[in-house]
């Protein structure tokens, strides 16, 4: 009987659980999503169709799902973590051979009512499995090479499949998300130092291999990197995304051009203005103040999650909270870096704001698990 189960008595039960949900976090999530609704409405030229309304419906469904998941005791989620990982992995393999190919990269399964991307699910399943693994692993073994190799393998297996799709953005999120859980679990600094050193080596190798027979990335990925390094070299071709996004951001100024007044997005100069590049619309129409507000909301979410994690005496609960928060952080950090020209364009949506079904539902489900950990956290001996 675990510590968690032994202190069950102090954990809220029944309908009263609802009161213990982290409502501040729910509020923050809703605020972020509202930014998304506004921008989708504006991008459609002042219309709820075709983006804002479906997005709102999905958010509502996602919120309900989140609360339902939150009501399920956290140990249930811990116990099915392995199963979830295996199931998602099988789906990944499945889409590798039978999935639909859309947008040149994403592979998804059509469930009829929605399109499911197993790679989205995998981000959460991986975090859950790693958290469960470290919950199970005796502390003294955490930094032993064999016991480090196992989670590394667990991370790399799906990553390789996702990279083959090819979806560079999700691959980065998987590796970084997994690594953060490992770090939080207490794996020695040395490993991370070595990996970072190897990463630098790999980057050198990636560039060195370019144009040779054993080239490590696809040509389009190399072009994206080139474009990132010098967007002005090809402003109408590969550099178009970044150049136009920067123009939109820059033309926003302090206060922006006003709601629905952004010329860049309204006149379709902005690429993928309702998905990956939606931040540019926000920045153009609401300026620095609007963009910074969104960033502050995101920061608030991260802070609330980490506080919840630190107050959680359950190892699985806190690790899964840190992992989900990290995944969320990586989403918006990568997206914003890419839009603001700090990173190559890798196709990661702005969480809860970008238009898109499965990403939002999966994220909200993940927050459900996070809430479950919050609701069912051991209250200690009071």
């Amino acid at each position: 009987m675990s510590y968690l189960e032994s202190t069950l008595k102090t954990i809220p039960t029944g309908i009263s659980k609802v009161l213990y949900v982290n409502w501040a976090l729910v509020l923050l999530l809703s605020a972020v999503a509202s930014f998304g609704f506004l921008m989708l409405y504006s991008n459609a030229g002042g219309s709820f169709q075709p983006w804002a309304e479906p997005q709102m419906k999905r958010f509502a469904i996602g919120m309900v799902a989140m609360l339902m998941i939150a009501m399920v005791p956290i140990w249930f989620w811990r116990n099915i973590a392995g199963l979830a990982y295996i199931f998602t992995f099988i789906l990944l393999v499945f889409v590798e051979f039978f999935g639909h190919v859309g947008m040149g990269a994403q592979r998804w399964i059509d469930l009829g009512f929605m399109k499911l991307q197993p790679s989205e699910l995998m981000k959460i399943a991986l975090v859950m499995l790693l958290a469960a693994y470290y919950d199970w692993l005796p502390l003294e073994k955490v930094s032993r090479p064999l016991w480090v190799a196992i989670p590394v393998a667990l991370i790399l297996l799906p990553t390789v499949l996702v990279l083959k799709q090819p979806d560079l953005g999700t691959s980065i999120l998987l590796v970084a998300g997994g690594a953060i859980v490992m770090f939080a679990a207490g794996v020695s600094w040395i490993y991370f130092g070595v990996v970072i050193a190897m990463g630098v080596g790999l980057v050198s190798a990636v560039f060195a291999s370019r144009g040779t027979g054993w080239q490590l990335l696809n040509d389009y990925q190399y072009r994206r990197i080139d474009t990132f390094l010098d967007p002005s070299a090809d402003p109408l071709g590969a550099g178009y995304h970044i150049t136009q996004a920067k123009i939109a951001l820059g033309s926003g100024g302090w206060t922006g051009r006003g709601f629905m007044q952004g010329t860049q997005s309204r006149l379709n100069f902005l690429p993928e203005k309702h998905t990956d590049f939606i931040f540019t619309t926000l920045a153009e129409e609401f300026g620095f103040i609007g963009g910074f507000s969104l960033l502050a909301l995101y920061a608030g979410i991260i802070i609330f999650c980490l506080i919840s994690a630190m107050n959680n005496k359950d190892r699985f609960g806190s690790l899964v909270t840190i992992g989900i928060a990290a995944t969320f952080f990586l989403f918006f950090a990568v997206n914003m870096s890419m839009v603001m020209g700090l990173m190559p364009v890798v196709g990661v949506p702005l969480p809860l704001v970008s238009y898109g079904g499965s990403a939002m539902l999966v994220l909200l489900a993940a927050f459900g698990i996070l809430q479950s950990a919050h609701v069912h956290r051991p209250r200690g001996k009071r």
Binding site: M1, S2, Y3, D135, W136, P138, L139, I180, F183, A184, A185, G186, Q244, K246, I247, A248, L249, G250, S251, G252, G253, W254, T263, Q264, L267, N268, F269, A283, G287, F288, G291, F292, L295, Y298, A299, I302, I303, L306, A309, M310, K313, R315, S318, L319, I322, A326, F329, A333, M336, S337, M340, G341, L342
Partner: protein
């Protein structure tokens, strides 16, 4: 898993430490994002906002209406007519196949034209909102058919444009000139290209007044600022600044006189100039054969152009100013004045003509082999005796003759807005040394004295010479009367300073040419005493031998020339006529000059009683068959107004 409380506490501590580190790192990274946002949005805002405007706003030029060209009485010589065309823009060309098939049915669009449209649509240089002309110069019926079938023709826009039109067709082809499409070559010749020329279907003056006064006529382009989206589709008009139409130009020409001149010269390769002796106004400057300038506006077909090029009567150049001919005996006016002014002869002094003179080892013939006998000045002009002028040439010298020629306006090109104005040639010793590398010999003077040899004059110069002889004033030809209502100055007009008595004796000789029954052009006299004409015939040799003009090929026959002014007592107009290879000046050129002069004086077809009674029947017959614009012209004028 089972864990001891101490182990749990250790785990929690470690997780908390690591979570704090992670949180700090994440917040730090968010701080970087915030700073980056600030940098892009605040520090560089101005620069990027400008770029956004550039993205958004596109400037289009609106073509101004070209200035109109009128004759001295306000009749339009060059006007802008509406043209109907259908255009398509890349952004609208989704159902191209269907549209082209439908247009083939409606307006008979040929497969070649369809192929051109397809090529244009593939041309990457053409922007998505640039109109591509599918068919131009549609009739009103075709245009309405297209407009009415709008729904079946998605993407097609019927448009109304302006195009140059020359209502009087060939009459002013050499003077007004014509416009044509802007070619890459024309653009490459400009020092500074006005962006106006990049407007599709813009027309550029190619010759004549249209070319030389392009800057005045073209006007200023209007500016249309539109907002466009990423595909170049125009969302809305931001503002519109209308252009400034080109200035209207009024010429000194009289379209009726010009029309008469063209008709009277008929099928000859000929030119005639009518000059107002007071102001220098060019009333008419005909050149035949002519061509329809409207052909060039549309872009002339190769077949039509080759036909113009291959015609041995050369329709393309305006012979009135571009043609340089040996003036023949008309030049004797210059020689006579030069001799009188040099004081080497008096009007009454006689020279004996034996039909030839011997100078050095060469024999120079008079056109009358038998000789004229004793000739004074007036008689020498009346009979056009060559020997008299051979003598004068030797007495006067080429330098004095050339000086008098230049004073009378020969050997210089006038500043007129016409194409290819020739300066003719008034030779002297220095010219021959520089251009022929040989000394001037006395034989050259003899030839020059009778308007042969090196001397070349244009019909316009001959008219100027005559006007100056008639008025003793420095008459300078003028073609532009006013620009946008602003009267253009009459230049010249100062005293020529030739002794009036000397001029009077030359004029007397010119009077006798027509009005003495022994004058060379007696048959072409004007019977109306108030309009008596004075003149001088000329027959200039094309080959260096005297020929019988009837028996030689056309291109070897002599040029026929005539210069004249009238009325003798109070000169109003000077008329010069040159008929290339026409034969004799008296038989061919003088009758034309008389008809033209009378038409100019009357402003209409002259009454028959101005002619000698014996000639009236033939004259009536001649006028009846002339293809004049006449009454038909007045009715078209009314409909145009």
């Amino acid at each position: 898993m089972k864990r001891s409380p101490t182990e749990n506490a250790a785990s929690a501590r470690k997780v908390t430490r690591r979570a704090l580190f992670l949180g700090a790192s994440q917040l730090a990274f968010m701080g970087v994002l915030g700073l980056r946002m600030r940098f892009l949005q605040v520090d560089q805002a101005d620069q990027f906002r400008l770029l956004a405007e550039e993205n958004r706003i596109k400037i289009q030029l609106l073509p101004p209406a070209r200035g109109l060209i009128y004759d001295r009485n306000g009749t339009a010589l060059a006007e802008n007519e509406q043209t109907f065309k259908v255009v398509i823009r890349k952004q609208d060309a989704q159902e191209l196949d269907k549209v082209l098939a439908e247009l083939e049915r409606l307006i008979g669009l040929t497969p070649a034209e369809q192929a051109r449209v397809r090529d244009d649509l593939k041309n990457r240089k053409i922007g998505p909102s640039t109109p591509i002309t599918i068919a131009d110069r549609l009739t009103w019926e075709q245009f309405s058919a297209v407009a009415a079938n709008g729904p079946a023709l998605p993407g097609i826009t019927p448009e109304v444009g302006l195009s140059r039109h020359y209502p009087l067709k060939g009459d002013f082809a050499h003077l007004v000139g014509y416009v044509g499409p802007v070619s890459d070559y024309a653009l490459s010749q400009m020092e500074e290209v006005d962006p106006i020329y990049h407007i599709p279907d813009f027309q550029l003056g190619k010759s004549g007044v249209e070319h030389r006064m392009e800057d005045v006529l073209k006007g200023k382009a209007g500016i249309l600022r539109v907002e466009q989206n990423v595909h170049g589709r125009i969302i809305r008009e931001i503002d519109r600044q209308e252009g400034q139409p080109g200035a209207n130009i009024q010429l000194t020409l009289d379209h009726k006189v010009q029309n008469f001149v063209q008709a009277r010269l008929g099928g000859e390769s000929a030119a005639a100039v009518v000059l107002d002796v007071e102001t220098g106004d060019i009333i008419a400057a005909g050149s035949t054969p002519s061509f329809d300038p409207n052909l060039f506006v549309r872009g002339i077909s190769v077949a039509d152009y080759n036909a113009l090029l291959e015609n041995d009567h050369r329709p393309l150049p305006g012979k009135a100013v571009q043609g340089a001919y040996p003036p023949g005996s008309t030049f004797k006016l210059v020689t006579a004045l030069a001799a009188l002014e040099a004081g080497v002869v008096t009007p009454d002094e006689t020279v004996r003509c034996l039909g030839h003179v011997e100078v050095g080892s060469r024999r120079f013939h008079c056109w009358k082999r038998a000789g004229h006998g004793n000739m004074n000045l007036a008689a020498s002009l009346r009979h056009s005796c060559d020997v008299y002028y051979y003598e004068m040439a030797q007495r006067t010298g080429i330098e004095n003759i050339a000086k008098m020629g230049r004073r009378l306006g020969l050997g210089e090109s006038y500043d007129l807005p016409l194409s290819g104005i020739s300066s003719g040639l008034m030779p002297d010793k220095q010219w021959k040394l520089a251009n022929r590398g040989a000394e001037w010999v006395v034989g050259d003077s003899l030839n020059a004295a009778i308007g042969q040899g090196f001397v070349l004059t244009t019909p316009l110069q001959l008219a100027v010479m005559t006007a100056r002889v008639a008025t003793n004033r420095e008459v300078v030809p003028r073609l532009v009367r006013s620009i946008d209502g602003m009267e253009q100055p009459v230049r010249g007009g100062g005293e020529l300073g030739i002794n009036e008595n000397m001029l009077r004796s030359v004029r007397q000789g010119m009077f006798e040419v027509l009005n003495s029954n022994r004058g060379t052009a007696y048959a072409s006299r004007i019977a109306d005493e108030t309009q008596h004409m004075a003149g001088k015939t000329g027959t200039s040799q094309v080959r260096n031998t005297v020929v019988n003009n009837k028996n030689v090929p056309w291109e070897e026959r002599d040029h026929a020339l005539f210069v004249s002014y009238a009325p003798y007592d109070a000169p109003r107009y000077a008329v010069s006529v040159v008929v290339e290879h026409g034969g004799g000046g008296s038989s061919v050129a003088a009758p034309i000059a008389r008809d033209v002069m009378l038409f100019a004086l009357h402003g209409a077809v002259p009454p028959l009683d101005a002619y000698p009674s014996s000639q009236r029947n033939t004259i009536r017959e001649r006028f009846r068959t002339l293809p004049l614009v006449g009454k038909e012209d007045e009715s078209t004028e009314r409909s145009r107004a």
